[in-house]
Assembly symmetry: C2
Homo-oligomer: 413 residues x 2
Amino acid sequence: MTDSRPTVVIAATLDTKGVEVAFVRREFERRGVGVTVIDCGILGEAGTAASFTRADVARAGGGDLAAMRASRDRASAIPTMIRGLEAILRNLLSQGQVAGYFGLGGGTNAALASAAFAQLPFGVPKMLVSTVACGNTRPFVGIKDVMLVHSVVDILGLNAFLEDVLVRAVTAFCALVAAPPAAAVGVGRPCIGMTTFGSTTEGAMIAHDKLIGDYDVLAFHARGIGGEAMEAFVREGRIQGVLDLTTTEVADELVGGICSAGPNRLSAAAETGVPQVVLPGAIDMVNFGPPATVPERFKGRIFTSHTPHATLLRTTAEENAAIGEFIAAKLNRARGPVAVVLPLRGFSAYDIVGGPFFDPDADAAFCAALAAKLDPAIPLERIDAHINDRAVIDRATALLTAMISSSNRLEAP
Amino acid sequence: MTDSRPTVVIAATLDTKGVEVAFVRREFERRGVGVTVIDCGILGEAGTAASFTRADVARAGGGDLAAMRASRDRASAIPTMIRGLEAILRNLLSQGQVAGYFGLGGGTNAALASAAFAQLPFGVPKMLVSTVACGNTRPFVGIKDVMLVHSVVDILGLNAFLEDVLVRAVTAFCALVAAPPAAAVGVGRPCIGMTTFGSTTEGAMIAHDKLIGDYDVLAFHARGIGGEAMEAFVREGRIQGVLDLTTTEVADELVGGICSAGPNRLSAAAETGVPQVVLPGAIDMVNFGPPATVPERFKGRIFTSHTPHATLLRTTAEENAAIGEFIAAKLNRARGPVAVVLPLRGFSAYDIVGGPFFDPDADAAFCAALAAKLDPAIPLERIDAHINDRAVIDRATALLTAMISSSNRLEAP
């Protein structure tokens, strides 16, 4: 590695993907872009040369290739090779050697790409050419700015169709590598992260229009990955204030819907001291896919259809109380400024007078449980309006911008 | 539209995505690429100018914008606007005016992109920048060669982070538009379509190595979209012979798994007269996601875990008989040459002596039902070996290549 220009990294199992990786490397090199190939295969023989051999990767992952080959235990070998890939990639990154990561293939090779993407900062080009681009991509994409290219056909040997797909992917990737790096984010206006959902969009639009100009506003779609991404952005220092309008992911986490952001939702701002204003947006609902996918234990409950692909379950008073206690516990740990705004006339476009989820008693159970558990030092405001009403949004944004200004003053020299 | 150079088409609801579309158009135009904007919004006002207004789109879709706006019935208006978009796009395509389709946004805007992608031939650049890139992408991608860009943040107003994502997407897209068109596929060697699966990969690799050189081999991963794509490729004349090694999608269609390719699987080759050799690859299994997602009606059945994300259900003798009858009925309609090869020692890597799905009686039920219903004029060969054994693959490929040669001779002048 005497050439110090950053290169495109490709990790693959070269016993099964040797021909395809060799083809892609040739296409990159024809365009003047260098490639670093990392062989993460275990069985068979590498079908093309690698800058980092499988023995290098096994060693970097704390394993021994000969022993892994002898045991033929693929299930335990793959995590070792992934650890090795991660270690090698971190090392290349620290030397400024990574121009991007280009993955190809399904199964193990998609898992390698997923692990690599997680190591790379936003803005570093990330691409995966695969049939897995069509289907559930969450395991491969996560919160990263990945480009997925649907190969339509399997990456199993070369053919005219696949070569065309690969050449176009390489062409696009080379343009990304050649493009000047993006302007640093967040150097100008402070950035506010806001959680949104279809049924809180009206409120989100009002908030956006109020804040924009003085602030950059990043909207995160609260369907699980959105909340995870916002938490990560807060920890990375990309966000200076959180308008947590849509905490619905907590309902999915506690009741068992498909839009959970995990148990650590509402943790990042609290732990880092970033100012946050929290509302109960869409906690009246738990998300499922098409009706047939709703678990049978919810039979007899109140549902409504958002789209043919999205079925919503109305939360009960008991569930709402649990959600309130969960949120209170998270906010009580906050090291920075925090406030709660409770709209008394409904938490979503479905939870509104005449709407299918309108249930003031269930909403009141949330408010009571949260108020009972919340640290009395945390401001809690009840507003006799709906979450999408201007009165609620005006107050929430006013609280947040005051907190951000005050934080900035405290931090000024 | 006096400029006759092809342009990038962007369809969007300009009442909600006006600012973002204007930004993207500016970035394309700065790079010398023209843009045709199609406004598919219904409510509010367009936030930027469009080449085709919402009234144009409604008219092309057989609707009346004023009436749709008055009724505010979004559910029935969207299909009209999608029909209008499709009609306008077909017209632009017929005039050679489409350099590619660039979509942005979730929900309705992703649905517009999906409809547009379905109209465009392979090789025409197709991109969607959206948070839906992380999640189940099948409704948006289908069988097309789409590039999905995960925007991480919602496309709801501009901010430094989103602008960076959009600029990079436009940069990559411009490279695709500028790239020379791919060489015509299929002008050289005849192309064989082959269906594969993890548990038939060994057989598929043997077949690939036997066929490659004389044929281009396109492998389709038989998880639903793969079978659909192969059927489409056959109808488009991209494939001159089908090695249907892995008919497992029929099991998912009949029993209720997640990898169905729909009721029209095994129809395209039969209807177009393309030669096909059919085997029962992986019909011993029905596919589900993680264990918790398996419907309760299958409680007490035999399962095995392929990965933590893929749970397999063993088919019963009754189910196998139904699968056999389904396949026989499809093949009986074939206008071209067809043959069936039945391996007697198991249909997948799990259905093998000592494997979790080994069940010769269930396999025999498939063979008996298929043989009973199959047109006696169709050759049916039983081979005392496993589906991944060389004896089975050698015979299947020999039958297929003989059929293709014979078809070519018949068609020669």
